[in-house]
């Protein structure tokens, strides 16, 4: 039956290339493409049905338009929804072929040569687009019973877990981009930490975008069973590119009783050039569910890339005594735009949440913090603390704060603070007097401004992030 379907698809009027090295679904979004993706990944029928259900829902959903950064209309029929590894013929042969600006950035970030090659798909190692890179440290993890694999693999090997939790935090009936992801997601990561296991290392995966015109639809699912702990790192870089690329990933976290998940992101995708041409659209849905008692989910993000960043990593604090945290640094320069923040939804008793957001805008960029703190009737004794600070550099950029605060419980406390300021002449003068040039001085002051958030990042990440903060603001002073 399935073979026949593939056979049918091959006769699709745009045709398929049978060359395994550049296996692509035809452009466009329709049922056939979804069946094609499902087929090629040998997915069970329930998942195909699930995808189709999402697609049905997608037909009636409208793209949201309340966000601050506006973007040209995306033609969803003009995108490729699946592309297997590209043929090496199409890839750059060596580093010299790459944009020198990009190489400079790598150098400043201190990314090893081998890594640079890998990032640009030069090395002969298997490098894939939507298909997840082979994961390392497998043995150590297997010993502890930790499952860390691509979600496609998990669908084959651990269907029960996937079936139970997939879409349990971000249902297929969610907003437009999340539903789009549910219908066409290609790959992503899957993590399961068994009860009472502390994951011995930071789990990390590099997501990359490589094939031109390929919308990226990753799906990540992390489950921390009772009493377990995991720290997960997500870092991204994308090569120089002219067309805007859509990235609509879904990340779902589930923490059961006494479990803790720490999710850190450093996002440095191509932000477009100085005139705002090109760049990635980063429309990601990240949501964590503190399902069990005493559970904790903590989001840390450093957002420096993308033409438009539009995401709200959220926590649903369902279990009693659960804790949600959100630490964010968002930097926009040139023509970048960001509309980011978080949602803390307090449902259980004695739940706590903390939001620290630092926004820095420079050049002609525009930055918005948008957040929701919602304390429901049953969330007795809940507390929230929110602090969002903005730093402006120059008077062509904008910084906005839009917090939504809903308190339906008289035994709960919400406190919110926000400030907007600029780097004072005095601070700059002090640093320059001590021999730093202006850019170094700005870098130092900005790092101080962000310190509270940088501290939350795992060690290796913190170093990279600190450098990134400086690099992102280059050329914004003077």
């Amino acid at each position: 039956m399935r073979d026949k379907q593939i056979e049918d698809l091959k006769d699709y009027k745009y045709g398929f290339s049978t060359d395994i090295e550049s296996y692509k679904a035809p452009k466009g979004l329709n049922e056939n493409v979804i069946r094609f993706i499902s087929n090629i990944k040998k997915e069970p029928d329930w998942l195909l049905q699930w995808r189709l259900k999402a697609f049905e829902r997608l037909k009636v959903l409208k793209e949201p338009n309340w966000q601050k950064p506006k973007y040209p209309k995306i033609d969803y029929q003009d995108l490729y929804y699946y592309s297997a590894p590209k043929s090496f013929k199409e890839k750059p042969k060596n580093l010299e072929d790459l944009d020198p600006k990009l190489l400079e950035t790598y150098k400043k970030l201190g990314i090893p040569l081998q890594e640079q090659k890998r990032l640009n798909g030069i090395a002969v190692d298997a490098v894939f687009d939507s298909v997840s890179v082979a994961t390392t440290f497998k043995d150590t993890l297997t010993e502890k019973g930790i499952i860390f694999c691509s979600i496609s693999e998990a669908i084959q090997k651990h269907p029960d877990l996937v079936k139970k939790y997939l879409g349990s935090v971000i249902p297929i009936t969610d907003h437009f981009f999340a539903t789009l992801n549910s219908a066409v997601f290609t790959d992503g990561s899957f993590v399961y930490i068994p009860p009472n296991v502390k994951c011995p290392m930071e789990l990390s995966t590099y997501f990359r975008i490589n094939a031109s015109d390929t919308g990226q639809f990753e799906r990540t699912l992390i489950i921390a069973d009772k009493g377990s702990y995991v720290s997960y790192l997500e870092g991204c870089t994308a090569p120089m590119r002219d067309e805007n690329q859509l990235h609509a990933a879904n990340v779902e976290l589930i923490a059961l009783d006494d479990a803790e998940i720490k999710y850190s992101t450093v996002q440095n995708w191509y932000p477009g050039d100085k005139d705002g041409k090109g760049g990635i659209y980063n429309f990601v849905t990240k949501r964590g569910l503190c399902k069990g008692k005493n559970s904790k989910i903590s989001w840390t993000q450093v957002e420096t890339g993308s033409a438009i960043t539009w995401k709200y990593p959220s926590c649903i604090l369902k279990g009693d005594n659960s804790i949600g945290e959100f630490y964010s640094i968002a930097i926009t320069n040139n023509h970048q735009k960001a509309d980011t923040g978080t949602k803390m939804i307090h449902l259980g008793k004695n739940t706590k949440s903390k939001i620290i957001s630092k926004g820095i805008s420079a050049g002609k960029s525009d930055m918005t913090y948008r957040g929701l703190v919602d304390i429901s009737k049953n969330a007795v004794n809940s507390t929230n603390y929110t602090q969002c600070d903005s730093l402006l550099m120059g008077n062509k950029c904008g910084a906005h704060t839009v917090p939504y605060i809903k308190n339906k419980n008289s035994n709960s406390n919400i406190a919110h603070e926000a400030t907007t300021s600029k780097i004072s002449e005095d601070q700059l003068h002090y640093c320059q007097q001590r021999g730093l040039n202006q850019e170094e001085a700005v870098g130092l002051i900005v790092n101080g401004f962000c310190k509270e958030v940088l501290q939350q990042l795992p060690m290796e990440f913190a170093v990279e992030a600190q450098k990134l903060v400086g690099i992102s603001l280059e050329g914004s002073v003077g």
């Binding site: 008077n395 809903k406 919110h416």
Partner: protein, 414 residues
């Protein structure tokens, strides 16, 4: 509703003596309202208070026709006796008395406007509704260098003659250079289930000072929307104080445009709510020029299943360097069913600014109650004392001593 609006509008026009120009403007305003209808939660500004739904639920079918030919009796007993004052008495949306007995008559110019304020805002169709159904707009012009000797009290009265009716009213103040005025806007409602829609315009020229105190205390079942638009030139000051408590539903909206340098706007507000009441304060402070200042302090005490909403926005234009903007909202929830929603918003396009906002909500501090009780107060008195102190903070911001004293007595805060 559309048919009702049209027939009521025709009736209203035929019963009044508007000029052709006025009728033209009113028709245009009506068309805009017909296009948009009552605002609902789909609009960001009405997210927390869906007035369309509230009217449907509490009033049902509204009558838009309001007979301004009826002469209303005024009971002089309602007037404030503690202080000497000028009066404007408005009954059911009709100006019945304009009395400026304490002022020099050649320093004030009273006119009715033919080209009234015409804002066709799709996001706020209530302004269009107001423009289409309100009676003649009075314009009060305070001449150059003249300061009002006594406060002006605007009595806004409704009586039992109106029910399920939409009352629209607008008034305009023009303050010339170096002039000043103190206004107390007092509502006295003896009617039930009406939708009252007020629009006030204030135009402040150089060095002008406006002090505006709005009091809604008397318990009533009306639904009210009150919009104040303040435009400020160089070095002018506006002070707005809102005490909002008595009506079933009330939304106070204050919009300040700071157009001249060194102009400043102060907005302070109190919500004291019980039962099912639902009140909102929404502010829109636009810093459009260098060296402007705004300050906001809003406090709410919310009991039973009432709901308090604060939406405050500070907008700083890229020209408005050296802006000083501050916003603080605090709420005490006294009951499990009470609800507080806030959206303190900053939109900033200039870098050399000092802007901050804060918002806090929660229950009364148990430690403070314990402290007072350990000193011999019973729990009820201790709570009252704390609430008193909490609100007094806002009342103390009133800059006019005489009015502060009057309002303290009126509100019952000492």
């Amino acid at each position: 509703m559309e048919q009702k609006l049209k027939t009521d509008f025709d009736k209203f026009i035929s019963m009044s003596n508007f000029s052709n120009q006025e009728i033209k403007l009113k028709k245009k305003a009506l068309d805009n309202f017909l296009k948009n209808g009552f605002p609902s939660r789909k609009l960001e500004n009405w997210k927390f208070s869906d007035i369309n739904q509230i009217i449907q639920k509490n009033i049902g079918e509204l009558t838009f026709y309001n007979d301004y030919n009826i002469k209303n009796e005024i009971n002089d007993e309602i007037f404030i006796k503690e202080i000497e004052h000028n009066k404007i008495v408005i009954v059911n949306g009709k100006v019945e008395r304009l009395n400026f007995e304490y002022e020099e008559s050649d320093k004030i110019n009273l006119t009715t406007l033919e080209n009234f304020n015409q804002i066709l805002d799709d996001d706020n169709s209530l302004l269009s509704l107001n423009n289409s159904f309100s009676n003649k707009t009075h314009n009060i012009l305070v001449k150059k260098n003249y300061s009002f000797k006594k406060p002006l009290i605007i009595y806004q009265i409704t009586n039992e003659k109106v029910r399920n009716t939409n009352i629209n009213f607008q008034l305009k103040f023009e303050l010339e250079e170096n002039s000043s005025i103190k206004i107390i806007n007092l509502s006295d409602d003896n009617s039930e289930k009406n939708f009252i829609n007020n629009l006030f315009n204030f135009n402040l020229n150089k060095n002008a000072i406006l002090k505006n105190y709005k009091i809604d205390k008397k318990s009533n079942t009306n639904i009210k929307y009150d919009y104040s638009s303040i435009t400020q030139k160089e070095n002018s000051i506006s002070e707005t104080f809102i005490f909002s408590s008595g009506s079933d539903y009330k939304k106070n909206e204050v919009s300040c445009n700071l157009e001249g340098q060194y102009s400043s706007a102060f907005i302070n507000g109190i919500h004291v709510l019980s039962k099912n009441r639902h009140h909102e304060i929404r502010t829109n402070t636009n810093h459009l020029h260098e060296n402007t200042k705004s300050y906001q302090l809003i406090k709410s005490v919310i009991d039973d299943s009432s709901k308090s909403v604060y939406q405050g926005k500070i907008y700083v234009d890229s020209k408005a360097q050296k802006t000083d903007g501050y916003q603080l909202s605090k709420a005490v929830l006294l009951n499990e069913q009470a609800e507080f929603n806030a959206k303190p918003e900053l939109e900033i396009y200039a870098d050399d600014v000092k802007c901050s906002h804060g918002s806090a909500s929660g229950s009364l501090d148990e430690d403070s109650i314990f402290y007072l009780m350990s000193r011999g107060l019973d729990k009820k008195t201790a709570k009252e004392l704390l609430i008193n102190g909490f609100l007094l903070d806002v009342v103390e911001k009133i800059t006019d001593e005489e009015i502060k004293k009057l309002l303290k007595n009126m509100i019952g805060l000492n």
